[in-house]
């Protein structure tokens, strides 16, 4: 599976005790150089460096055509006050996901909202850490025997990263995992 990652996701995920599992889920994860430039914390730099050294994290060769797509997307959505945090590096990741079909790994609420309604970009698959944890279960990389055990896995992530998830998304993902466990 191919992914593309933004800085918010990398910063948070790098604090997670099971962070190495990300490399088991994805064959390659694309990253824009402007995303790497945003990393400052030792944990995020260390994690990204190790993924780069292993060849899992790969610098994306940005093109003029993609720059034009970025400008178009920015003009369409970036000034909408109901969509927060639409900064250039994260929109670049959305463009890369759109162009390559890669799964977008993001914790940017604005980007997640664009994917909910934009005619072109709603085709992008966007995962937060919550969906990554869900996929780790489905692929047997994290073993859980019940929905409660899955909730414990999420609690570990929240504890390590100071990141929590919306009640609606938690309810939806737990229902999916419960259905998967009962299959």
């Amino acid at each position: 599976m191919l992914g593309v990652v933004d800085a918010c996701f990398l910063i948070d995920w790098s604090r997670y005790r099971r962070r190495e599992l990300l490399a088991s889920l994805f064959e390659a994860i694309l990253v824009h150089e402007e995303v790497l430039a945003q990393l400052r914390s030792p944990s995020a730099i260390d994690f990204a460096s190790r993924l780069l050294a292993r060849g899992v994290l790969r610098l994306y060769p940005w093109s003029t055509a993609e720059e034009e797509l970025y400008i178009q997307l920015r003009d369409e959505v970036a000034l909408d006050p109901r969509i927060p945090s639409l900064e250039r590096p994260d929109l670049l990741c959305l463009v890369i996901a759109h162009r390559t079909g890669a799964t977008l790994l993001t914790e940017n609420l604005g980007v997640l909202r664009v994917v909910q309604f934009h005619p072109a970009y709603s085709r992008v698959t966007a995962w937060t850490a919550l969906e990554v944890l869900e996929q780790l279960v489905y692929r047997g990389l994290v073993e859980v025997g019940s929905a409660e055990e899955f909730l414990n896995i999420i609690s570990e992530y929240c504890e390590d990263t100071k990141h929590v998830f919306s009640s609606k998304r938690m309810k939806d993902v737990v229902e999916r995992v419960r259905a998967w466990l009962g299959r």
Partner: protein, 82 residues
């Protein structure tokens, strides 16, 4: 210039409900004593983050990179919510 692409009203209402839930989670998680002891620029940035959830805006207000601001957010106990 491209035209604006607007979200449907029902989605905007859902986002408004979500924004309120997320804001309350950030307020409740914050270590207010720690935040009150910060220098004004860092304090303002954290307050802006708690109210808006916008890490980029807050990092700019603090004069920090995104990664540096996130270190401050964690020290202040403020959760990120998606």
């Amino acid at each position: 210039m491209a035209g604006k692409v607007r979200p449907p009203p029902e989605l905007v209402r859902e986002w408004e409900r979500e924004d309120e839930e997320f804001r309350e989670l950030r307020r409740r998680s914050a270590d207010w004593k720690f935040i009150e002891g910060l220098e004004p620029r860092a304090r303002l940035a954290l307050l802006a983050y708690i109210e808006t959830g916008d890490r980029y805006l807050a990092a700019k207000l603090a004069g920090l990179t995104l990664g540096e601001f996130d270190e401050l957010r964690v020290k202040a106990g403020v959760v990120c919510v998606t």
